[in-house]
């Protein structure tokens, strides 16, 4: 067959199903070589279509977009936990601080009471001793007088008792 084969324009136009390519269609009916070439072209593109789609379908879906929210959720959870811990820590320390202050204040109050008690006690003791001394020194008729002895001894005892109280 001596007829010229399909040129690039005709070949492409025929592949693209463009109108006005009657000459190309007529040539393809007669030319086995061009038919074969066209068929080979289509088969190659079909093979590429098939293989490339298989490749694409075999590619795993990346989970990064899914991971991102979950990691953010994890981060949010951690942040909340941290905030809760911080709050607990602050609450605990504040409670501890208050308790310490209360215990210190109560401790000082106790001390004061103790001091007050001891002073009162001393005073009471002193009073008691004074009373005791007063009772001892109460002027009663000494039996020594009956025998004509001087009263000096009792005066000395009184003085001694007073000095003890002081």
């Amino acid at each position: 067959m001596n007829a010229p084969h399909l040129n690039d324009e005709q070949f492409a136009a025929h592949l693209l199903d463009l109108a006005g390519e009657q000459a190309a269609a007529a040539h393809l009916r007669d030319c086995a070589m061009c038919r074969e070439e066209l068929e080979r072209f289509k088969q190659s593109v079909d093979s590429f279509n098939h293989v490339s789609l298989a490749w694409s379908e075999a590619r795993p879906v990346l989970q990064s977009r899914k991971v991102a929210p979950s990691s953010r959720r994890w981060f949010l959870g951690a942040a909340w936990a941290f905030a809760a811990c911080l709050l607990l820590l602050i609450g605990f320390s504040v409670t501890l601080h208050h308790r310490d202050r209360n215990s210190i204040s109560s401790h000082s109050t106790d001390n004061i009471t103790h001091e007050e008690d001891s002073e009162t006690e001393i005073a009471r003791d002193n009073q008691l001793m004074i009373e005791v001394t007063g009772e001892i020194n109460r002027r009663e008729q000494s039996p020594a007088l009956e025998y004509g002895l001087p009263e000096r001894t009792s005066a000395t005892a009184t003085t001694r008792a007073e000095s003890r109280v002081e």
Binding site: N7, A12, L15, E37, F41, S44, F48, S52
Partner: protein, 213 residues
């Protein structure tokens, strides 16, 4: 109207049965309002990803030639689609809308200096040679698998030599089976420009495959 939607959805898949099955599995992905406008349940991002991710990932990967970056762009595409789902008016299919978003993201990425730097620094080109073996055993003979793998590799090599615009229109036309108008919407190029890129890409691939001139 419902049958039109079905046809539209089926037309968006080069393997009609597969698309139909997916549609049946996810019947709530599209529904109609009283006014007859197509509205998608774009709130269900998982279904969206399940249905459209493989094709979007393939489109992005073989357009930019970097599988790692393509993963990121595809994810960004779904994220953007989810965030701007209110702006989807239903005047095109979800497929076209998603590919349009992906195309804008690719364009943004190609403009950055960082992309060109990393493209030179590393080449994470897709290796398709082992993909043919992913098929279940017994479906094809080893010879057929080898043949398919070889043909696919040839086309892949040919695609690498094309410009980005030629690559994207070629993939959209011959792999995604979209018509010229849809490609024009997705790529924001006039239909005649799309035709020109398609002609050039077919010519280049024909030459790569050992065709006559």
């Amino acid at each position: 109207m419902h049958s039109q939607l079905m046809e539209e959805l089926l037309a968006s898949n080069s393997c009609p049965m597969n698309g139909y099955m997916q549609f049946l599995m996810l019947p709530s992905i599209i529904y109609l309002t009283g006014s007859g406008q197509t509205i998608s349940e774009l709130d269900d991002i998982n279904s969206l990803v399940q249905l459209y991710r493989p094709r979007l990932l393939r489109y992005v990967t073989f357009t930019i030639g970097d599988s790692d970056l393509a993963e990121t762009i595809t994810q960004d595409c779904f994220l953007k689609a989810f965030r701007t789902r209110d702006s989807f008016r239903g005047d095109c299919s979800i497929n076209t809308w998603l590919f349009g978003i992906a195309n804008n993201l690719i364009r943004d990425q190609l403009r950055t200096e960082k992309f060109h730097f990393w493209r030179k620094a590393r080449a994470t080109a897709v290796d398709l040679t082992d993909i043919a073996s992913l098929e279940p055993s017994g479906e094809r003979s080893p010879e057929e698998q080898f043949l398919i793998s070889e043909r696919a590799s040839q086309v892949q090599r040919a695609l690498r030599d094309l410009s980005t615009n030629q690559r994207r229109v070629f993939i959209l036309r011959f792999l995604e089976d979209l018509n010229l108008d849809e490609i024009s919407v997705i790529t924001s190029m006039p239909v005649n420009t799309v035709k020109t890129h398609l002609h050039r890409s077919v010519t280049a691939i024909r030459a790569q495959l050992g065709g006559k001139r």
